[in-house]
């Protein structure tokens, strides 16, 4: 479904989605007609590494993978002139339920990603870079490999790029499809061939990441915004968005919406306005998951005053996350909705930390009982309490991400859960534990 080019008389940004609707935009020939690799030359190589990092800092670009960490600051943590090589790893393990923007980026415009990687590689002094792609994305892996081949043939990769003396090699690494491998240290472990489990921090990847060398892990979308900034400057990028959340972002919208898809819009757009842009909500809006399944749900009432930027969502105790917007209408069974989300997290927990390993499954099993009409009084409070217990007690941000939907759904739609529990005729009966005690011994 084509995106609108204008909204309310203003042109929508085309920083990332330039080639999304261009036929064969993934090929080098077509991409070059539309300005691909324009930065590979003096625009890039006349800038020092320091200038590059300052430029990105000035642009206010923030990580688009979920956490929204300022990209320039992340780059500045990498130690300079060390004995170890610096690695750049592109996180293309897009796994947040509801998110499908990176997949589209890699399908439609792999050359912009490669160009962004060359830009970033130059800024950080990277000789070898990896693209860690979710294992299921076979067509995207094929596209990336084809694009890399073209880029090598055209001299944009390999030794001495464009006569600058700078050399960069890019490898595509196929993951196995685990959600947790989208966490940067889990991703690094997986890249190194270990089980995809997040590492203890410190040390942070910028100091000791892949192969114990300084490593920068950035999302596909983040890196794809870099060439525009290099070419047009930080000020041009700041024409969109808010002061603290400048620029544009890709939003994957799905759910009860008339025109689902990926849209590039400036940050700071109101959620209700965005729904309008996407053809309007089907039925009456009940609530919306504003940034991927981890983001705490917002009610229709809250959405009225929420805009699509990091600060507005933080003030609503939610988050922009990966930009997966999932509105749902009043016909939605929110209990089953949460059950699906909880099952996802129980399935994807890496099994390292106790609270997340056992807690996500526990919550899932209680929700299953509630949905099956076997809930008991107090179960809803138990789930909320369990989520509170595992929220901040683990190595990585998976557990908070698994806790937030549970906490927010139960807080905001509690009556629906209680209603479900009351469907069990025996809901008020005392819990007895006969089957879980080894009988005779106790």
């Amino acid at each position: 479904m084509p995106q609108p080019t204008h909204w309310k008389g203003k042109a929508l940004p085309r920083v990332l989605s330039r080639l999304f609707e261009v036929k064969d935009g993934h090929t080098l020939a077509v991409a070059k007609q539309h300005g691909a690799y324009a930065t590979i030359g003096p625009a890039l190589f006349d800038k020092s590494q320091f200038e590059m990092i300052e430029l990105i800092k000035d642009s206010g670009l923030r990580g688009r993978g979920g956490a929204g960490f300022p990209t320039g600051m992340k780059w500045s943590f990498v130690p300079r002139g060390g004995a170890k090589p610096v690695y750049l790893v592109i996180n293309a393990d897009e796994g947040e339920p509801g998110t499908f923007k990176d997949r589209l980026c890699m399908t439609k415009d792999p050359h912009l990603l490669i160009e962004g990687m060359i830009n970033t590689g130059w800024a950080l002094g990277v000789r070898t870079a990896y693209i860690y792609v979710r294992g299921e994305m076979l067509p995207q892996i094929a596209r990336l490999n084809a694009a890399l081949k073209e880029a090598y043939a055209a001299g944009y990769l390999g030794e001495n790029i464009g006569g600058s003396g700078y050399s960069l090699d890019i490898y595509v690494h196929r993951g196995a499809g685990a959600y947790i491998c989208g966490e940067e240290t889990g991703l690094i472990n997986s890249l190194e061939g270990f089980k995809g489990q997040p590492r203890l921090k410190p040390p942070f990847p910028a100091i000791s990441g892949a192969f114990a060398a300084p490593t920068v892990v950035n999302n596909v979308e983040t890196i794809m915004a870099v060439p525009y900034i290099v070419q047009n400057g930080a000020k041009a990028y700041r024409q969109w968005g808010t002061d603290k959340s400048p620029g544009s972002k890709l939003f994957s919208i799905s759910g009860d919406i008339n025109k689902p898809g990926v849209y590039e819009v400036p940050l700071g757009l109101g959620y209700l306005e965005f729904f309008e842009l996407c053809g309007g909500v089907k039925g009456e809006l009940l609530g919306c998951i504003p940034g991927g399944s981890s983001a705490p749900v917002l009610t229709a009432e809250e959405l009225k005053t929420t805009t699509m930027d990091y600060e507005s969502l933080a003030s609503k105790k939610s988050m922009l996350g990966s930009g997966a917007v999932t509105p749902f209408n009043t016909n939605t069974d929110v209990v089953k909705y949460l059950q699906t989300i909880a099952r996802f997290y129980a399935h994807e927990s890496c099994g390292q930390c106790t609270p997340c390993r056992e807690g996500t499954g526990y919550v899932d099993r209680i929700l299953d009982a509630i949905v099956d009409g076997k809930g008991r009084d107090g179960d809803v409070e138990t789930i909320k309490d369990l989520a509170d217990r595992y929220e901040w007690t683990t190595i990585c941000a998976f557990a908070p991400g698994a806790a937030w939907p549970v906490q927010s759904f139960i807080t905001k739609f509690k009556d629906r859960f209680v209603e479900y529990v009351n469907r069990n005729p025996a809901h008020a009966e005392a819990k007895d534990l006969t089957t879980h005690r080894p009988g005779a011994f106790w």
Partner: protein, 544 residues
Amino acid sequence: MPELITITVDGREVQVPKGIQLIEALRQHARVETPAFCYHEDLKVAGNCRICLVEVEGPRGFGFAISCHQQATPGMKVRTQQSSETVRLARKGVMEFLLVNHPLDCPICDKAGECTLQEHYMGQGRHESRLHDDVSKQYKGGADHRFTDGKGQDRGGKTIDLGPTIILDQERCIACSRCVRFMDDVAKSSQLDIASRGDHAYITTFPGKPLDHAYDLNTTDICPVGALTGKHFRFQQRVWNLKSVESIDPSDALGANLTIDYNISGEGGKIWRLMPRRNPDVNKSWISNRSRMLYQQLSVNRLTDGIIAGKDATLSDAIAAAVKALAGAKRVAVVASGHLTVEDNAALLALRDKLAGAEVFGGSWLPVGAADGIALSGDPVANRAGLTLLGIPQNLDDLAKRAGEFDAIVIAGNDLWAADPLKAAKLGSIPVRIVLDAWQTATVKQATIAIGIRAWAEIRGTMINRQERIQVLNACPVVAGPGLEPAWRVVSDLASLGWTNETQAFKAAQARSQRLAGLSYRGIGPMGVVLPAVAAPAAAAGVA
């Protein structure tokens, strides 16, 4: 003395050494009980159990941090369960999560009584279960080993035979990864791993491969629950019925520290197992499977009586016969042993001094291997350094050459005929062969008079390991036969020294080496003491 820094724990200022892990600072210096499942002093930090978490002040106020992965830094402000309700609740939560899928089969579990999970439940949990009939447990286990109980309930992976020494009960596992890290980092043979993820993660070996490392039984010690159990101890004893004494590994010159777990029940009692005893400078927390199984020899093939000319005799008759035989001998060879304690060898030296024309020989014909870097030095002669200290030469080859010079030989705790039968055969020409040994060895079979003695677990004494560390063996009251005496006591009878206490024997040893001066059993303590550098070489020379 390490540099001290000050940290604040629950509002109290505490001095701790610089660079110490926070969990150790809390445990050792702040005296705050800090639980842990995955943390182990001698393993890499994994930080996955989350029970040791505390609140540490950072730029954005107090936040959770796990104390096992934090170094204490100057000025650090820490809140523990003693002052923070948040920490207390978080730990309670961790305990609830650990137990929600645990089978709670403590009544039939070998670990009950020494189980970290039980211990910390009493300390941190004490919660009521929030499960009910319609919310089942997710028992851990792979698809290959599912066990269904009598009620038709799936109980997870039960009784999985991992290899020659270990049985695995996957459903008890709390996925702390201690065993995996032990095999990876200490044993350096990655035979174990956690398969799958989430609450269906389970411990397993690689498909079709056993767990068969020479140190694998250490995983049963560090397992905080009853998931890994040693076949030798499984269903043998409840641990609260066991008593223990501290001793060392007598089969290797490293002298790995261990405890002897025994109980007195019925006739004479029984030694049930040996457990490694942590000594960071010697064996860390590990002992080899071979050392661990030494207790099984203590009740097998023992020489509990005397033998005179191939016929069984009482111990006292054998001693009397030996005294008589020695009195009639002109030249006696006394063979000391590195398998015996310093006390025993001091007694043998005293015997040499008593007998005119006697000469002492020592050492072993056993081959010396290479150290494995964990808990074995490769040298089977545990007290070799003790022989050197007492000035006993290691010259068995010399003895074999000069066998014709002697008309009597006393061999104590040294199985020469097993170590090198060809060389030992030359000793067969000596007419009087008195052998003191705890087992019916090949050498005992060659003896004209054999006298049973107590084995290493049954005596109190000292040995000096390869690091010149003097370590104490303590006596377990379980003794193979009535009337058995330690070697020093038997030698004292042979030489009519009149020693009745091992302290007398130790004093005699101290008289022979100044490096032992000022030491006592209590002073040496459970961790041993590294002997001071050679104080006066003349002292050693004087007795030789």
